[in-house]
Symmetry: C2
Subunit: 428 residues, 2 copies
């Protein structure tokens, strides 16, 4: 049996999960894959955490892993975008196969990394970077290799999905639920990356590039998080048969790419609507296969480690084929972007106004001025001096909707807080 | 760019779909895979159907495909278990990689085929045989390679899912909907394979073997179809928050395997409950990744052809690696089977009785005698002399439930038609 030696940098949650999987299931994995996997060396800043390892070298210097002549596959699990880049760059230059779960790095500097991999004739696996245990990347690259992707809609951040689910099930407000999520370990102490949609956007930029064979850049994306969503938005959504999810999506519109992350009301009977709590999901629309939906755990020690291990097996099989097996390339030409202002969409608008006659008329007047047609209005009664006006638009130009809201938000005699906009998708 | 020559046997729905995909997207597939795919030869009994092909040889003799020195990958798409076996056997002996969508053949004679492949050092791809466009096989073999599978529950037959969905949405009876499904091409003129659960069972036997690394045989499975399901069963199910699906499942119970296909009431909020019409789905429970759900089209020309093409790419990549790339093996030791009589399950029982006092007491007496405890009873009023008694049991031993029903069905003075049994799963 051929042998592949693994070197891990970073024995945090995922690293320790991977070590455990190799210890518990190594023999089965060897048997299934026809390859003998050996954990050659593990690096961790705090070496005490890996002192228990037997038959495996331990170190606190990542150079020991990436420069080891014995190591075939380097697994980068330290996260962040600085040292992680150095590790991956050097490992690739040393002709090691690399496996990583680092979506921020791939989204921001993927181009450089993929170029180095390509120049050095080696491959990099990153299944764990998008959707954790869900085989998103492998499905795009292998199962749907024949496809023209029309669109992909995903719930790709477990923290925000957990928060939105709990806001609904417990009837509580964002801040309360965030605090609880932090206590349960479902949200970081600084949750910005998750709750502002950045993490989901990193993932969408990676998968959009693979799906469309075009480099889709993170900073060309429209990205919004969930911090402005209130209990009343969730109730409103439920009352019209929809559920609010933080949806990341990418679409091919006549060769131009649209990629976004934003809170979106989707119909309750849509497959993504019932993906609750920390679960992630992706919904592809393809020309040959039609819709394909994948659901699973997007994060966590073992789900992520399992995805890392699947990359190790997948790419080490290819390594054994040497020069004969064509390498994957992740280098694509720049995408042309669709002008998002021109998107025809429906929005839910929550205006936070003072409670006096004429407010609704004024709002309606400005919406009308921008050709934003109203499908539904509800005005909440309130004990205080404040009122909430909820408006559902018909399909209108995105730019017109945004401009109308901007003008309304300037009416300081009426508007108390900036208006909340939530996209509504009838058909996705 | 390395070149792989494809030979197709069978230009029916799927074969023509595959030819179209190669014509339309061949260049993109070449670019993505780094391999140049050439359609070398196509065989069809009616050669007129493939007369339009250019740059490709055509024939009506399958021997021309499997014996061609130029062909690297033989795609068997004629179905059935006789000639198809010969084609696959000969192709493997000629050291060709084989790709097939033939679930009946794999389920019934897979062992022989996998042995021939192994003896000849070649591989066989069959992604399209289970779940069509859904990457069921690839996910088990690669994405979840590290996993211990606890169970897999699937909706793996589009015809029956279509029929059950329409029975619910249109409030109509089985026979009416079957007729419509036949007219729409969603059911065969002889629908036995589908409606009796045989097709789903073939698929479960294949995927169970791969998931558990044990050969799970079709004829060791308990298999029931949907022909006895009535409108009233569907209404009853909805009234208690469940939906009836034809569920195929396999479970690992302390090393023993249980594998079945039967109509099952599942909770409406379960991911499988909302898989409607002709869509298929699979729900894996794994120890590391937790639940993983895949949903998509289980049949049809392009979805199936897309899966076939993904196999061609996957296995031809490995072929290029030659001896160095370890081959997949699908040969497993015999499974130990769980004694299905001992399964602790809940059932819905619909007794079809004459309408007279004392009937319910007699049914309850016999259920009690077999230790089947009743959770819920409903007796339908009826204009005629007949009554329906619907009973929901608590968790009871499967064997006891079946024995009690057998005894009740012998009461010719009370029972008009055999009792209908539908499994109910609270947690799956």
């Amino acid at each position: 049996m051929k042998r592949i030696n693994i070197g891990i940098v970073g024995a945090g949650t995922v690293g320790l999960g991977l070590i455990k999987i190799l210890q518990e299931n190594g023999k089965t994995i060897n048997q299934k894959s026809g390859i003998e996997y050996h954990l050659e060396i593990v690096c961790n800043r705090n070496i005490e955490k890996i002192r228990h390892l037997q038959h495996t070298k331990i170190t606190d210097k990542f150079e020991d892993v990436i420069n080891s002549a014995n190591v075939d596959v380097v697994v980068e699990l330290i996260g962040g975008t600085d040292t992680a880049f150095t590790i991956i760059e050097q490992a690739l230059k040393n002709k090691k196969t690399v496996v990583t779960a680092n979506k921020a790095l791939l989204s921001e500097r993927g181009d450089e990394i993929f170029k180095i991999a390509s120049d050095n004739g080696v491959e990099i696996g990153f299944e764990a970077a998008v959707g954790g245990a869900i085989p998103v990347i492998r499905t795009i690259k292998t199962a749907l290799v024949s496809e023209n992707f029309v669109s992909a809609y995903g719930i790709l951040n477990g923290t925000t999905n957990f928060i939105l689910s709990k806001m609904e099930s417990m009837g509580r407000d964002y801040k309360e639920v965030l605090k609880e999520a932090q206590e349960l370990g479902f949200a970081e102490s600084d949750p910005t990356f998750d709750v502002e949609g950045i993490d989901a956007a990193h993932k969408i930029s990676i998968l959009a590039s693979l799906a469309f064979n075009k480099k889709v850049e993170f900073d060309k994306m429209h990205v919004e998080g969930i911090t402005k969503i209130s209990k009343s938005d969730i109730l409103f959504s439920a009352s019209i048969g929809y559920r609010i999810k933080l949806i990341g999506f990418c679409k091919n519109i006549n060769g131009k790419i649209e990629a976004r992350v934003q809170p979106t009301m989707i119909p309750l009977n849509h497959p993504l609507a019932n993906v609750m709590n920390e679960m992630n999901a992706i919904y592809f629309q393809t020309t040959y296969s039609g819709p394909v939906v994948l659901v699973g755990k997007g994060a966590g020690s073992f789900p992520t480690a399992s995805a890392v291990m699947s990359d190790i097996v997948f790419y080490s099989t290819r390594v054994l084929g040497g020069e004969n097996v064509p390498h994957e390339t992740n280098l694509f030409p720049q995408a042309d972007y669709f002008n998002q202002e021109d998107d025809m969409v429906r929005y839910y608008l929550r205006f936070n106004t003072i409670d006096k006659p004429g407010v609704l008329a004024e709002i309606a007047r400005i919406l009308g001025k921008y050709n934003v047609s109203i499908s539904y209005v509800r005005q909440n009664e309130s004990d205080s001096n404040a009122a909430e006006v909820s408006v559902l638009t018909h399909k209108s130009r995105e730019g017109d909707i945004r401009n109308s809201v901007r003008e309304i938000d300037q009416l300081q005699s009426i508007v108390l807080e900036p208006t909340v906009l939530i996209r509504l998708e009838d058909k996705l």
